[in-house]
Symmetry: C2
Subunit: 268 residues, 2 copies
């Protein structure tokens, strides 16, 4: 079993309820990697017998750092329409809500379609770039193969403020794993904190809320398979304890797989 | 009383519960304007006696069109930390969930701050532009003074596909009303559907999920007062029944007040 599947594994306990546990393979500085937490909340809806269609929107709110160990998830389909379904999901640990999520699932029909944003072009392919050094990083970083075109983790945290926080990288699960909705959701949270790039200074940070829109359907994800996706991330604003991040995840054919946004707490 | 305040007015009924009603002043094609619905869900947390700090993140999921008339809102503070508070909010009409929301509130501290995105420059001021024609539009459109720099509602829906869906406009409540968190949340949903711009073709649409990050605090909103804000919106992708929208709301001094994202259902 791939370590990602182990990380998001859930056991149904009663109607609408699942049990899971953190895994050391995806440990972060404090608690588990938020990407796996978000993916696990989505997974509860994906596994739910009442689930309709495929995810198109996911918002995860990180209410506190998870503790190492077990947690319970309640996933309720609060409204099921003909082609959409709305979920409210809560993760509880030791009687306290540690994360909440809402998700929208949909049955897509074929319609007129057109991209508007376009993927960056003329980039070096992943195999032409070195894998980013993950020595001394938290365990979860080692679960990804990241190859930076631009905006990798700074070589030195020298406090030299940079003009922007843009990153562009090829990323895939390590070892390779076929992309699916859960792993795409986790990859959406795999960008290093924009403030580290911008300030070249490490600070305590924590994602507070993360929203992902899934533009891809299952067939597009299957086509992507184990190939690296292209992630492009930037911040819009850093202000009084919070900054945001906007990112796009592109497939290897230049198709938009997901767009994702988060707001992040930081301490000076 | 300003019509916006009437639209978002709530009466506390019991712990965590509020009652409100739709108002004809903000009617949309089907049901009320989503911006007032989202603002009303936020208002429940703003009015709640347990509320801590100011909103920094709001996600609203529109599970169905609201019917004309009363609704009930349940707003639960599921986790209160030292400086953040997490809310889960549900709007129920006739026993069915019609909308859900999550919100994060925070007590901000003064820290290092820096913008990264910058507001468009050299734009004509609002008073140099005509107010957009709102004849034949739903009632809610008349509750806003919109002055388009670029990307207004097409003069003709001639089906000529455009290369992009970008809009840039000055917008304020009509009549003027001092900006606050609720009205800012509503303005974040006041952009016309991107697909109307892109295709110059009207289609049934409905916002499915809307996320807003509030970069401004109450002092910044007070400084903005009744002046028009600058809204800039675009889409990234239109695909098989859903498109997204990303927008920024700038204050009249070029400061980022909010960034907002939504995913929208469309039918051909």
């Amino acid at each position: 079993m791939h370590s990602f599947d182990a990380a998001i594994a859930l056991t149904a306990t009663k109607v609408d309820h699942f049990r899971g546990a953190t895994t050391p393979a995806y440990a972060n500085m404090v608690g588990p990697f938020g990407g796996t937490t978000g993916a696990t909340l989505l997974q509860a809806a994906l596994l739910h017998p009442a689930r309709l269609g495929q995810p198109i929107a996911l918002t995860v709110n990180f209410a506190s750092a998870l503790n190492t160990g077990e947690f319970e998830i309640e996933a309720r389909a609060v409204r099921t329409n003909r082609s959409t379904q709305h979920w409210v999901i809560e993760l509880v640990q030791a009687g306290e809500v540690a994360a909440t999520a809402t998700a929208v699932f949909a049955q897509r029909r074929e319609t007129w379609s057109a991209p508007e944003a376009v993927a960056p072009v003329n980039l070096p392919p992943p195999e032409a770039l070195p894998r980013a050094d993950h020595r001394g990083r938290p365990a979860w970083v080692q679960r990804y193969d990241m190859r930076f075109v631009e905006g990798g983790m700074p070589d030195a945290f020298d406090g030299q403020e940079q003009p922007h926080s843009r990153s562009c990288l090829w990323v895939r699960d390590e070892p390779p794993r076929p992309l699916d909705f859960a792993s795409l959701a986790a990859i959406c949270d795999s960008f290093f904190p924009r403030i580290f790039m911008r300030r070249r200074k490490v600070a305590p940070i924590g994602t507070v809320s993360l929203t992902t829109y899934v533009h891809a359907d299952a067939a597009m994800l299957a086509e992507q398979g184990e190939q690296p996706v292209l992630g492009v991330a930037r911040a819009l604003n850093f202000r009084n304890g919070y900054f945001d991040q906007s990112a796009k995840i592109w497939g290897s054919g230049g198709q938009l797989l997901a767009s994702t946004h988060q707001i992040v707490y930081f301490r000076e």
